[in-house]
């Protein structure tokens, strides 16, 4: 038995392993009393018991241990038999961090602050419809487009926001046309998105969107009662207008051209299945379960105080459970926030989501050009401004050039402080590679861009969601669904 005597057996090729191993950088996080997740800087992970973790960390894990080869393969340890681990880790780290080198890809244009809705959680603090001074002018638009194209990013996504951007449709057409003209020479991958409540979705708008492959993003908070309660419109017809708009986009532009997201109010908490069902009923295949953000009217109307992080997490987990159940029953529905985190866990790449990056994506992943030409480091930064705080204003398109805006002290200082790897309690967190930092949020809630993590909704929310995703990944049925959500 055994190999013919010309050959040596596996043991003789494994002898050098008994010399021990070296630890490569990793951290760990307890997800249940005897279960730990060990994670490395490139997002690979091992699920281990406390005892195994002890062996691993103490350098006493034997080559015969079932986890040894996994730890070696995923570059948690390096033995004397191979020294490619560092090359491969470096390669993977470069791949994960690559989006940073692309610089700003998402350019948000607030083309009007006017809106026909009076949402009680509005994060922007909308203005009445008939006030023309809250619209972006052609001169401002032209300068903002020129700035967008100064970004080195190979792909440029221009997102129209408000207020309700369709209230200033002429400037949308102007910006699209300016961008397309510039792009003849620039040759970037150019994409447009209109974030709209769909009230003013006319034939003209649809035809324009069809012509230029423009994507539509909208808000759908759930069934009629919840949607209209969360998002009141003077005529009380917001829900119907939204649904009509979704249908029109689906039939005129295609199912893949529209995405909806929901904001969770205290009313939403008890209506979870109804909210998700609303998405299924309207043939939508992605949903974004979002908590309230502490900006604008959400604070004035004390909406944010109505539920705490535990309530939110439970809502999210139950939502996920129901969404997975629908998937297993044959209806593909992706929860977007989970998708972003899963992509960080299960692939070598990073989805470049502004709020889940380290350093933060403010300014370097996304930037906001406000209707008046002011430039903000993120959507939340201009929400903060509407509350009277200009902390994260980078400058103005009429007075500052690209270099001044993107090397402004406020941006560079904030980015530096937003590197989670050097932030207290983040630096040694086992979930750091799947998380990120949100300096604007922490400044808004704690007056400090780094923030104290034990008091942070952001930290608690992400910790609990990521822990939960790992639990779901342990179950083969759920795992299969989650794998299909990877971006």
């Amino acid at each position: 038995m055994g190999l013919s005597n010309k050959f040596k057996d596996l043991e003789s090729y494994s002898e050098v392993l008994s010399d021990g191993y070296q630890l490569l950088p990793f951290a760990f996080h307890k997800i249940s009393p005897d279960k730990y997740i060990a994670t490395n800087i490139v997002g690979e992970y091992l699920t281990v018991s406390r005892d195994t973790l002890k062996l691993l960390v103490n350098g006493t894990l034997l080559p015969s241990h079932p986890i040894y080869n996994d730890a070696k393969s995923k570059h948690f340890i390096m033995d004397r038999d191979s020294d490619t681990a560092l090359d491969l880790l470096a390669l993977k780290y470069r791949t994960k961090q690559h989006p940073i080198s692309e610089f700003t890809g998402l350019h948000i244009f607030v083309v009007s602050l006017r809106c026909d809705y009076t949402c009680k959680y509005c994060q922007v603090s909308r203005k009445m419809e008939d006030v023309d001074k809250f619209d972006m002018s052609e001169e401002t638009a032209r300068k903002a487009v020129a700035l967008a194209f100064e970004s080195p990013s190979k792909s440029i996504k221009i997102e129209f926001q408000g207020g309700e951007p369709l209230l200033n449709f002429p400037i949308i057409k102007f910006i699209v046309s300016e961008s397309l003209t510039l792009n003849i020479k620039e040759n970037r991958v150019l994409q447009f998105v209109i974030t709209s409540n769909l009230t003013f979705l006319s034939e003209e708008v649809l035809a324009f969107c069809k012509l230029h492959n423009i994507y539509i993003s909208t808000s759908l908070d759930g069934p009629e009662s919840i949607h209209n309660k969360n998002r009141p419109r003077p005529n009380k017809d917001g829900y119907q207008k939204t649904i009509d708009g979704i249908r029109a986009v689906q039939s005129e532009l295609g199912k893949d051209r529209i995405a909806a997201l929901m904001t969770t109010t205290s009313e939403s908490l008890s209506n979870l299945e109804g909210i998700v069902d609303e998405y299924v009923q309207n043939d939508l295949h992605a949903i974004f379960l979002r908590p309230l953000s502490p900006y604008g009217f959400a604070i004035k109307t004390k909406q944010v105080e109505k539920y705490n992080v535990d309530k939110w997490s439970n809502f999210f987990k139950q939502g996920l459970e129901y969404i997975i159940k629908l998937n297993r029953a044959g209806y593909f529905l992706r929860e977007q926030y989970t998708s972003i985190i899963l992509t960080k866990i299960l692939t070598p790449t990073d989805p470049k989501y502004v709020d889940l990056q380290s350093p933060s994506g403010i300014g370097i992943s996304a930037v906001v050009y406000n209707y008046d030409g002011d430039v903000y480091a993120s959507d939340e930064a201009r929400m903060l401004k509407e509350m009277g705080d200009e902390k994260f204003k980078l400058g103005n398109v009429h007075t500052d050039d690209y270099i001044e805006l993107f090397s402004s002290d406020i941006l560079l200082d904030t980015l530096e402080e937003s590197i989670a790897e050097s932030a207290p309690m983040c630096s040694d967190c086992g979930l750091i590679t799947y998380c990120g930092s949100d300096p604007v949020y922490h400044y808004a809630t704690q007056g400090d861009v780094v923030g104290k993590k034990p008091l942070s909704f952001y930290c608690k929310k992400n910790t609990s969601i990521i822990e939960h995703i790992f639990e779901l990944l342990e179950d083969p049925g759920s795992r299969k669904v989650l794998e299909s959500w990877v971006l």
């Binding site: 013919s4 050959f7 090729y13 080869n69 393969s73 020294d83 090359d87 993977k92 692939t347 070598p348």
Partner: protein
């Protein structure tokens, strides 16, 4: 099934040196084109008509004592217009180097190898066989333009150094539209200069097929019986991709490799996602595999779950994956779409069970060597 080699020919020749000859049946070929050509005839008749051909190859033997005639052994009766052979007169030896009608043509460039894989189908020998590549360079110049693909195999082709690159260059110069598929263990490309050198050939479709048998070094090194091979292969792949060369990862499935197949798939996805193709290949029962059969054989049905999982993982990483050498009746239906008819025609066969199989025409069948060992679960699909 056909044989590519016979030493049962009767050859009369004025030369002892091996001749590289292209077969033709065109007896009226202009004289200026007759050099390096062998005229294939059914029987030797009018000697004068053969003037200018380097050799006459006859399917039937006659008693006439003419020079430069090879009487073909029955094994090689299939030879046809455009095929290229090496004739070694003093050993009655004819080897077929290239067949127009082959499903795939592989140029066998050396028997030497720096690995010693436990399942090697072509056990290496440390011989001085530098003449092989020179003959093949000559043969390449005789192949008709338009050939779809040529394989290069060994031994380890890159051990030929500059002559390996000369062969690639010869193929590119003579056959500019022909794809090249090199089977190499990739170890020599750990030297960045060699990776650069192959990129400088600047071939439009050259793929390097490189085996990787495990996600951990000690198991890979054991399978290829060479310490340090894993590291060299990994560095080789990285260097080749740095120079934008096409790389295929080849995994032979057997008792020593199947267990960590999903982990290997994950490793490839995480570390080498940029490779162009992954081939997961059933075992050929030949060469060293026969000597080590006990340690290598596992019924494919027993590793099917692992294989299935590995394929799913590779798909998740969006890596183009194929399954070679496994029969449809062993594969779950969802894997049929990536199961390729991969076995070269000259060693491809089917068994009795296959006669009534509805999928036979889609199935890659067996290696001839499966006579020695094949799955117990072969059964016709209705």
């Amino acid at each position: 099934m056909i044989k590519l080699h016979s030493n049962k020919n009767i050859i009369t020749s004025s030369s002892d040196a091996p001749l590289i000859l292209k077969i033709t049946k065109k007896y009226d070929l202009p004289k200026i084109l007759r050099s390096k050509r062998a005229l294939l005839v059914d029987s030797v008749t009018d000697i004068n008509a053969y003037d200018g051909f380097d050799m006459v190859i006859s399917r039937n033997k006659l008693d006439s004592k003419v020079h430069n005639v090879a009487y073909l052994s029955d094994d090689l009766n299939y030879l046809d217009e455009g095929d290229i052979v090496r004739v070694t007169p003093n050993s009655s030896d004819i080897r077929v180097l290239y067949r127009v009608n082959a499903s795939a043509n592989f140029l066998f460039v050396t028997e030497r190898c720096n690995s010693f894989c436990i399942m090697c189908s072509q056990p290496p020998r440390d011989v001085n066989d530098g003449h092989l590549v020179e003959e093949l360079i000559e043969a390449v110049s005789l192949i008709d333009i338009g050939e779809r693909e040529l394989g290069i195999t060994g031994g380890e082709p890159t051990l030929l150094g500059d002559r390996f690159f000369a062969l690639l260059q010869a193929i590119k110069s003579n056959l500019p539209t022909t794809s090249i598929h090199v089977l190499t263990n990739g170890r020599t490309f750990a030297d960045p200069l060699l990776a650069k050198q192959i990129s400088e050939i600047d071939h439009y479709d050259l793929m390097l097929g490189i085996p990787l048998y495990s996600d951990v070094s000690h198991i890979h090194d054991f399978v290829v019986q060479a310490d340090g091979a894993f590291d060299e292969t990994i560095r080789g792949i990285l260097n080749l991709k740095r120079h934008s060369q096409k790389v295929e990862i080849r995994v032979v499935l057997h008792k020593q490799t199947y267990d960590r197949l999903p982990q290997l798939a994950e490793f490839i996805g995480r570390n080498l996602q940029f490779v162009d193709h992954v081939a997961l290949m059933g075992l050929e029962i030949t060469g060293f595999t026969r000597a080590n059969l006990e340690e290598l054989w596992i019924d494919p049905l027993e590793y099917m779950d692992k294989l299935s999982e590995a394929v799913e993982i590779l798909a998740r990483f969006k890596i183009h994956t194929s399954i070679y050498n496994l029969q449809r009746c062993l594969l779950p239906r969802h894997l049929w779409g990536i199961a390729v008819k991969s076995i070269s025609d000259w060693k491809n066969k089917y068994y009795e069970e296959c006669d009534n199989c509805a999928e036979k025409h889609n199935c890659g069948g067996f290696f001839a060597s499966s006579d020695i060992k094949r799955s117990d679960n072969i059964a016709a699909i209705k």
